[in-house]
């Protein structure tokens, strides 16, 4: 299968701090790629570079056949990238339904005048997009909380709503930043099921940052390991597990 995403020689600096140094890796279409590494390794920064929240100083990101030095987040969304955030970035003042409906904003073509008058296209769009949203709500099993303000929900459900908001945009590639952080075993199992189903049934390529090695080794097809902003391992889960640099980074080396 072809590569949907190619990161080439990316370096990202904040002032004097090098968050990412000369990283390259490829993500194949249809795979689950896990990005792992100790805290501060540059994983979230990598995701932010891919969808344009950060601009790298050096390097290019090739997505869907187009090589770009930088992209702005809106264009990334239009090109079919959706993502979730490490520290949940839901719209706190809105209900679950409204949050997920926001994920459909690129499908809404009616003007604000039509929406204000609630006529024609605007009315029909609300119905059609609500249908798409309800499918995702059903898939994630959050029917009972659809009209609850997200601020009132427990953490695990908020993570699920955020996944729904990304999913409803019908992306080609889904970037998940620690989808299982802070969850108990059961919630992790649920979330793994959702991710696998999204990937296998709907064929959405997934790039995921995750700390839970059990989950990573079980569900991912491809693992990229970062440490101190550098890539130290890249390959299938079993290859990475056998990689001496990775073992050293996680377990430490004797001096």
């Amino acid at each position: 299968m072809s590569d949907i995403l190619k990161v080439e020689n990316v370096t990202l600096q904040f002032g004097g701090v090098k968050a990412i140094t000369d990283i390259s890796f490829n993500v194949k279409e249809g795979e689950i790629c896990a990005v792992i590494g100790p805290n501060g390794a540059g994983k979230s920064s990598m995701l932010n570079v891919i969808n344009g929240v950060y601009l790298p100083q050096i390097g290019t990101v090739t997505y869907d056949g187009v090589e770009r030095k930088s992209i702005n987040p809106r264009d990334a969304a239009i090109a079919g990238m959706a993502r979730t955030f490490q520290n949940i970035a839901l719209f706190q003042g809105m209900t679950v339904l409204e949050n997920i409906m926001t994920g459909r904003n690129l499908f809404m073509k009616s003007t604000w005048l039509e929406q204000g008058l609630n006529i024609g296209r605007a009315r029909e769009e609300e119905r059609v997009n609500r249908l798409a949203v309800e499918k995702v709500i059903k898939f994630l099993q959050i029917e009972s909380i659809r009209k609850t303000p997200v601020a009132k929900l427990p953490y695990g459900l908020q993570k699920r709503v955020e996944l729904g908001r990304a999913l409803v945009a019908e992306p080609k590639i889904l970037l998940l930043d620690e989808p299982m952080a802070g969850m108990n075993l059961e919630e992790k199992a649920d979330m793994s099921c959702f991710i696998l189903e999204i990937n296998k049934e709907q064929g959405i390529t997934t790039v995921m940052i995750e700390h839970d090695m059990g989950v990573v080794m079980d569900i991912s097809d491809h693992v990229v390991v970062l440490d101190y902003g550098k890539k130290i391992g890249d390959g299938s889960p079993s290859e990475v597990m056998a990689n001496q640099d990775v073992i050293d980074a996680y377990l430490g080396v004797s001096h």
Binding site: P73, M101, N105, R130
Partner: protein, 364 residues
């Protein structure tokens, strides 16, 4: 009939999106509209001119500010300035455009658009700055507009006193008054026009709030980075919010000058009024259209009721200075109390009441 969801079955997505989903609500709204359209115009001229029409005008400005501050999260202190643009715009359109082309409703609409465009210009800094810093830009709008109209006497038709009374011919409405045999300059007609505009624009705002545009605005308010990652153009959303908000303020300014006080006077649109409208918004509840109206009624009526109490119970013991100071203190106390107990303002209190009614008498 009790306030109950039971028996109101939602069978399609249109029904689920209704503004008034419950039968009880619908009945109350229809009765309310009948009351506003049929009974209120027959009340006294004093009641209409001193209570109802000014509340409609400032309430509409509060709804406008709500779109900007409550929905999109952009703080503004330029409300009175944008109202001023609306008032002067309406006056100049009525004065300078030939009568057969221009009538008050058209002039209100056009001057609202002017005010909206002025708002977009002063909203440009919002693309780069957030929160309290934006207050500086909008405060600049307030003072700039004020200075501008003060400096160029052309806008007041070279009236040396700084105040122009509005000529009776401006209430002509292309001869509609003569046709119907109604005094269009009288307060009942003025009231009905403002009422129609206010209900129409409130409906528009409510629709925006529950549609994609409103969700985009709220997402910019809550998390602008997440919004841009979802594909929402944050600068566009902010500028659109400025345009719509200032359009409302402009129309409100036109109503205030033409349908309430009957003259165009710069002194009305000083920065104090921007603050008053901000108080109305905060007390009424950020992000709620009905809250804006509740806040406007409370803040506008409080000094009047307070004076009335002074006159009847304490034989006129309160002079205007006392009333003004006490009012400001009360607004302050209300804002502090609401921020601590109920940040959603009156609108949230009202929502809680409705929720309790829904459960009554078995709250579990």
């Amino acid at each position: 009939m009790i306030y109950r969801e039971t028996g109101n079955f939602v069978t399609n997505y249109f029904k689920d999106r209704e503004i008034f989903p419950m039968k009880f609500d619908k009945v109350v709204v229809i009765l309310g509209l009948l009351f506003l359209f049929l009974y209120v115009p027959t009340t006294s001229e004093y009641f209409l001119s001193a209570h109802v029409i000014p509340i409609l005008a400032v309430g509409l400005a509060t709804v406008g500010l709500n779109i900007l501050t409550g929905l999109t999260g952009q703080l503004s202190l330029g409300t009175a300035g944008f109202m001023c643009v609306g008032a002067f715009g309406t006056y100049n359109l009525m004065l300078r455009v030939p009568d057969y082309l221009m009538s008050l409703p058209v002039a209100l609409l056009l001057s609202g658009i002017f005010a909206g465009l002025v708002g977009v210009v002063f909203g440009l800094p919002a693309i780069r700055i957030k929160g309290f810093y934006l207050l500086v830009s909008t405060l600049a709008a307030q003072y700039f507009v004020w200075w501008f109209f003060n400096s160029y006497a052309w806008f007041l038709n070279y009236e040396s006193s700084g105040v122009v009374a509005i000529a009776p011919k401006f209430y002509d409405y292309w001869g509609l008054g003569n046709l119907l045999g109604v005094d269009m300059q009288g307060y009942p007609a003025r009231y009905l026009l403002s009422l129609v505009v206010c209900i129409g624009l409130s409906y528009f705002a409510k629709n925006l709030l529950r549609s994609n545009t409103g969700r985009n605005f709220m997402s910019v308010r809550d998390r602008d980075i997440a919004a841009s990652v979802m594909g929402i153009s944050v600068p566009k959303a902010k500028l659109l919010a400025f345009f719509i908000s200032c359009f409302y303020c402009g129309v409100a300014g036109g109503i205030y000058s033409f349908l309430y006080i009957g003259n165009v006077d710069l002194m009305i649109y000083e920065v104090d009024r921007s603050f008053t409208i901000l108080f109305m918004l905060i007390i009424g509840g950020l992000g709620s259209i009905s809250g804006s109206w509740l806040g406007a009624i409370f803040v506008y009526e409080f000094p009047i009721v307070f004076t009335w109490i002074g006159d009847f119970i304490f034989q006129g013991a309160f002079n205007t200075a006392v009333v003004e100071n006490v009012s400001n203190m009360v607004y302050g106390v209300f804002i502090i109390a609401l921020l601590i107990r109920e940040p959603g303002g009156f609108a949230a209190l009202w929502a809680t009441t409705k929720q309790k009614l829904r459960m009554w008498p078995y709250p579990h």
